[in-house]
């Protein structure tokens, strides 16, 4: 329908020309996205660019920012405490991502059998509930469970003949204590994703394999693993992005201690930027952390082409 043919006939009053309709639609559309655009501009997009700019400045919020070029980056490279922070964070990320993925997969495989619906939904509820409770609540609970003399974990370990472990009090154990707690808290999330991924694999594949005489393990490696690979990729990427930012659990359980044993990069950003008001330096650390996450995510996507089957 073009405009000339429309204009040739006398139009009923209600029918609008295409042009006017298009303009009207655009006005509606812009009105609809306006609140979101304003909100995201002010609180996300402008701050992203500001972080880049701030990393070249020294700013304590009270006096005007002072341009210092790459001095923040130079300082970062020689900041040995921050470097241990990166090691702590990397340890946490690797342990957390690998353990939650493996444990979630094992549980999901164990549940995806012929079991009663009641058992299935009870198990799912138990595994998933910690996911939606606030980290603050569970971190406080676990701090007491971990107590060296009076905590019930050491009590039951003692009953089994194992010596008391100085969970949160020792720099060797503190990070692992935080990791165990956070794996407990978030394994249910991966479990739910894996169960959905497993249920999406058509039954017929397994039936056909059975007829061909394939055993459990060859079915697992030739059907389950490849068809589950997109779920694995999603879990690895989400896990990596999320756990690199870890803050709540170590901050609440140990405030980064003992020493710097659990002081993650997230805690460093908070302390430099918001406690000591070193806005420029905190922005620089944030920028470096973001770059690392970005590069690793891109690498994961690139390598995924070799092992993910769509």
């Amino acid at each position: 329908m073009d405009q000339t043919s429309l204009a040739a006939k006398p139009l009923p009053r209600k029918v609008k020309t295409m042009n006017r309709m298009r303009v009207e639609e655009a006005i509606w559309a812009w009105a609809f996205i306006f609140p979101s655009v304003v909100g995201l501009m002010i609180f996300t997009i402008i701050p992203i660019f500001s972080t880049f700019i701030l990393s070249a400045f020294s700013w304590d919020f009270l006096t005007p920012p002072e341009f210092i070029g790459i001095k923040n980056f130079q300082r970062l490279l020689t900041d040995t405490r921050l470097m241990t922070g990166f090691v702590v964070t990397a340890t946490y990320v690797i342990a957390h991502v690998v353990l939650t993925a493996l444990l979630g997969l094992i549980l999901a495989l164990a549940v995806t059998r012929k079991i009663s619906n009641f058992l299935r939904s009870s198990l799912r509820a138990a595994y998933f509930f910690p996911v939606i409770v606030s980290t603050a609540s569970v971190a406080i609970i676990w701090t007491y469970l971990y107590h060296q003399e009076l905590g019930i974990i050491n009590y039951y370990l003692g009953e089994l003949g194992i010596q008391r472990i100085p969970w949160l009090n020792s720099s060797n154990w503190a990070l692992w204590s935080v990791i165990i707690m956070s794996v407990w808290k978030s394994v249910g999330f991966n479990f739910v994703l894996f169960v959905a991924g497993l249920q999406n694999i058509p039954r017929e594949y397994y039936e056909a394999a059975e007829i061909d005489g394939a055993g459990y393990w060859s079915q697992f490696f030739y059907i389950t693993v490849p068809l589950l690979s997109p779920t694995v990729l999603f879990i690895l990427i989400m896990g990596l992005i999320g756990s690199f930012q870890v803050f709540d659990a170590p901050y609440i359980m140990t405030t980064g201690g003992p020493g710097d044993a659990t002081r993650t990069v997230g805690i460093f950003i908070y302390e430099h930027g918001l406690r000591f008001l070193r806005m420029g330096y905190a922005s620089t650390i944030a920028l470096v952390l973001f770059s690392i996450i970005m590069v690793l995510t891109i690498l994961q996507f690139t390598f995924s082409k070799k092992w993910v089957v769509y």
């Binding site: 298009r22 639609e25 655009a26 509606w28 559309a29 812009w30 609809f32 996205i33 609140p35 979101s36 995201l40 609180f43 997009i45 701050p47 992203i48 500001s50 972080t51 549980l107 164990a110 549940v111 059998r113 198990l123 509820a125 138990a126 595994y127 998933f128 509930f129 910690p130 939606i132 409770v133 606030s134 980290t135 603050a136 609540s137 406080i140 609970i141 676990w142 007491y144 469970l145 009076l150 019930i152 009590y155 407990w184 249910g188 739910v192 994703l193 959905a196 991924g197 989400m238 992005i241 803050f247 997230g266 950003i269 908070y270 930027g273 918001l274 905190a282 922005s283 944030a286 973001f290």
Partner: protein, 282 residues
């Protein structure tokens, strides 16, 4: 024949063993909460007695009343409820409007704006916290609940989630409404919102839960006790009580977990569907 029966019995045995292991694991997942609740009911002197009394000998509810006298717990609760409700309502409105626009309407600059907004999906919160802190101070919102609310009134995640869902709604309904002379806003209220309910409830649960549980932003923006939200309030309660009485701290934690448990029991299905929806689409 015999070999087959033996194999069957072996399989059955394995089946029950696996169920048992899964149940033991489930018990371990739940135990910390059981300990929390049972400790909250103990007399303060007995909160740390070993071996642990899973069923307290003397049940007391005094710890719960002490929570309210030690810290402004009612304020914490109300603040959390207020922030979580307002941000949820805000996101449902702003995200659904924007998502409808991106899913169905045509307008100049659509692709550019969409990509710009979605790029913020990949940016972690820490990346922007320093400038956001500055903006909040500049807007004079520091130490008010609005510091938590304003930045969370819309989200790229919500827009994306709803857009994906709106795109699956058949076009016919909309065309019919359009022929009847409905404008885009009427289509939004009469077609998109009712049909988008499953996705909207997923977004509502995610947003409410996320804001209810948030610890980082309240820690940064709030200074006055009476303005604290629950997670920050609980940490404060622990600071006030220290090791003095774990029972009181656990009473506070229990009070904060109960609403989550209620939401969980009501909306478990939506939550899990929501996670698998975003997981399989991602």
């Amino acid at each position: 024949m015999i070999a087959k029966t033996i194999k069957k019995i072996e399989l059955l045995w394995f089946h029950y063993l696996l169920n048992l292991l899964l149940l033991i694991f489930a018990v371990f997942m739940v135990l910390p909460f059981v300990w929390m609740f049972s400790t909250s009911l103990r007399l303060p002197i007995e909160s740390f007695t070993l071996p642990p009394q899973w069923i307290p000998q003397k049940v007391t509810f005094e710890n719960y009343t002490r929570v309210f006298t030690l810290v402004p717990f009612f304020d914490f609760f109300w603040n959390s409820l207020f922030v979580a409700s307002v941000t949820t309502a805000g996101q449902l409105l702003t995200c659904s409007l924007a998502a409808y626009s991106f899913a169905r309407l045509h307008f100049p600059g659509k692709n550019f704006v969409f990509i710009l907004l979605m790029s913020s999906l990949m940016v972690p919160g820490y990346m922007t916290i320093v400038p956001v802190f500055a903006i909040i101070r500049f807007l004079n919102l520091a130490d008010t609940l609005w510091a938590l609310i304003f930045p969370a009134l819309t989200s790229a995640f919500g827009i994306f989630l709803l857009r994906q869902f709106f795109m699956t709604i058949p076009l016919d309904l909309e065309d019919a409404a359009r022929i009847d002379g409905a404008n885009p806003f009427q289509i939004y209220t009469h077609v998109m919102l009712p049909l988008g309910m499953p996705a909207l409830s997923v977004l509502a649960i995610f947003t409410f839960n996320g804001n209810w549980n948030d610890f980082f932003r309240p820690l940064i923006f709030l200074k006055t006790w009476t303005k604290f939200t629950l997670p920050l309030g609980l940490v404060t309660l622990r600071g006030v009580e220290g090791t003095g009485s774990v029972s009181v701290v656990m009473a506070g934690v229990t009070l904060s977990v109960i609403p989550v448990l209620i939401i969980f029991l009501i909306a478990q299905r939506y939550l899990i569907e929501g996670i698998t929806l975003t997981g399989l689409k991602g």
